[in-house]
Amino acid sequence: MQRTRLLKSLAIVAAAGLAFAACGDDEKDSSDTGGGLNPTVCDASKGPAEKTKVKLQLQWFTQAQFAGYYAAVAQGCYAEAGLDVEILQGAVEIVPQDVLASGGADFALAWVPKALASREAGANIVNIAQIFQRSGTLQVSFKDAGITSAADFAGKKIGSWGFGNEFEIFAALAAAGLDPATDVEIVGQNFDMSGLLAGDIDAAEAMTYNEYAQVLEAKNPDTGELYTADDLNVVSYEEEGVGMLQDAIWADGDRLANDPAYHDTAIAFVKASLKGWAFCRDNTVICRDIVVENGPTLGSGHQLWQMNEVNALIWPSTQGIGYIDSAAWDRTVEIAGNTPNLDGATVLTKPVDADAYTNEIVNFALEELRAEGVDVVGSNWKRIEVTLTEGGV
């Protein structure tokens, strides 16, 4: 009894402690650049009244990484294509390609190496559109560590997320002639940058569109100012030549082969999604707003950065957005099959069969988009100016 009374009284105290609520700053966002006046690329009224229900499984909770799909919903692109798309958020334990394989979704987003590992384990899933044309993985370090390429990793503490996110690091080490077991110290890293700021890690793994910005949103305790890009060195695995393909749209291979209606749906879905991404290329701020509307806990400054950097992973798409470049594919497969991590494990143990990806769907979609006059290459795309604030709020 005594103990629970104590707990109860603690509850009262804690509730009182919560009542700190003071007024906040009503600072308004004034970074409106890169957007036109409420532009539209899609016309929902053109679509048929009868819609096909489609479920899309994301890799994570709502964020600008998935802006193109949210924009395609908000702009009516899916409705125009005769689709009623439900976007399923990811979570810690949700594996999109497994959800797809078990029938919980019609399409799923996944990084290529991870999806190929699921395919090797028996899931008949097929890459039908390679949205991110480039790898967004970085290794970020402070200037004084002097790490400007993978060769400089020697003797340093290198942060790694593990869970299959580490293979670009090991491929870069191998390419630089370094032995991951003896020449560097691989340090387990959380999905944030606190290890780098605390000095536990010399070079931390980071995505261009997320963790890298987290450093730039943090205050340098020595100066009291935010860290800037000038304080940091960045090693890009794409530039190191070991980039592995990331976000792609995966479809159910059996249904694609045997169900003509699903095949048509896949083309319509890819086409409308690409329109969403083209919209986000031209309307960075609006797309950020669409994302934040769908994810009210997200910091809008951070999401604008993310939208901008995600665009940089897509545009320009020289062969058209979504097209699966065979050279990049082969490089990804080669690294996945031949680069062991510290445990000696590779992502894949068997060669990848030719059916693991197809450009057939995306080619149909691109053809129709070009005929409609949609720019699917984005050769003139440039980053907009994004000023990060503390906490990325």
Partner: protein
């Protein structure tokens, strides 16, 4: 007796406040004075060669005052929702789900206990599986419930993510209830059971008049275990399956800003603590209601 209860109830409150104040004071003094004195501002402190002492800086140990200030800030820039409102709302949503999970777990647990008390063969057959069921890691079950659930729909009901969280919370909470209730149902004195037999009382009527009342003192501690299990199950499920309206998701979401706003995540942690305390208070109230006619010493 009631008067005695009321009179003593202020002291634990004072002790509770004192304990919390002491904890916060210890936190603040470590980060402000003890840590710097030991030189752990930048490096983890070692005790007998083991890295034990946390760094005394804002990143590892944000100030209690910063945490308090975070509550007052808007959740995101330009938003009219403050962090306090968001955390309170998330905590309330999680609490609703946890209470529902506890109710479901209690019904299933007591049902299982009745079966086991009635049929010895069920007890021998079921008990090992109940024990095994609790050794399955929650994070392994969570994605499975989403997959299985996707196939389930009846009477217009569709499996949602909250259903997964509810089921997992109930799954964790039914076990202590089943075990506690079973012990309680078997606790009456054999002489009392024989007396009921001599009245030719049916099993059900013996259960209702003798076994069930006898089980109440056993149910109270079981409910406390089950309550914390339900909270744990719901919060972890929120993270695992992606239920975005609960306090579990807020922890994950605020952790994203952990690099630059380390104090913010503690607001959501405080939310989960309050969630646990509210759950304890609810169970306490239920316990008091059920044992209102019992002498004090029988309470556990």
């Amino acid at each position: 007796m009631k008067g005695v209860k009321r009179k003593g109830s202020l002291r634990p409150l004072i002790f509770g406040v004192l304990a919390l104040a002491l904890l916060l004071a210890a936190w603040e003094s470590y980060r402000n004075w003890i840590g710097p004195w030991l030189g752990t501002e930048r490096e983890v402190g070692k005790v007998l060669g083991f890295k034990l002492l946390p760094r005394a800086n804002d990143l590892a140990m944000p100030s209690v005052f910063d945490m308090g200030r975070e509550f007052g800030k808007p959740q995101v820039r330009g938003s009219s929702t403050s962090v306090f409102q968001a955390v309170a709302e998330g905590t309330f949503n999680s609490l609703k789900l946890a209470v529902a999970a506890l109710v479901l777990g209690t019904i299933v647990g007591i049902g299982a206990a009745i079966l086991m008390a009635r049929f010895k063969v069920v007890q021998r057959g079921l008990m090992p599986y109940l024990v095994i069921s609790q050794t399955i890691p929650l994070i392994a079950l969570a994605p499975l419930t989403v997959t299985w659930g996707g196939e389930i729909s009846f009477f217009g009901f569709e499996w949602q993510k909250w259903t997964s969280a509810l089921v997992l919370g109930a799954f964790l909470s039914f076990f202590p209830i089943a075990v506690g209730a079973l012990r309680g149902f078997n606790s009456p004195d054999p002489a009392a059971l024989e007396l009921m037999d001599s009245y030719a009382s049916s099993w059900w009527s013996t259960w209702r008049k003798l076994r069930l009342p006898a089980a109440v003192p056993y149910l109270a501690p079981a409910m406390r275990l089950a309550g914390s299990a339900a909270v744990f199950g719901v919060v972890v499920s929120e993270l695992s399956v992606g239920l975005t309206n609960g306090v579990g998701y807020l922890i994950l979401s605020y952790m994203q800003e952990g690099t630059s706003r380390p104090a913010k995540v503690f607001t959501a942690v405080a939310g989960t603590i309050v969630l646990g305390l509210l759950m304890a208070a609810i169970i306490n109230a239920v316990d008091r209601y059920l044992t209102r006619n019992r002498p004090q010493e029988e309470l556990s």
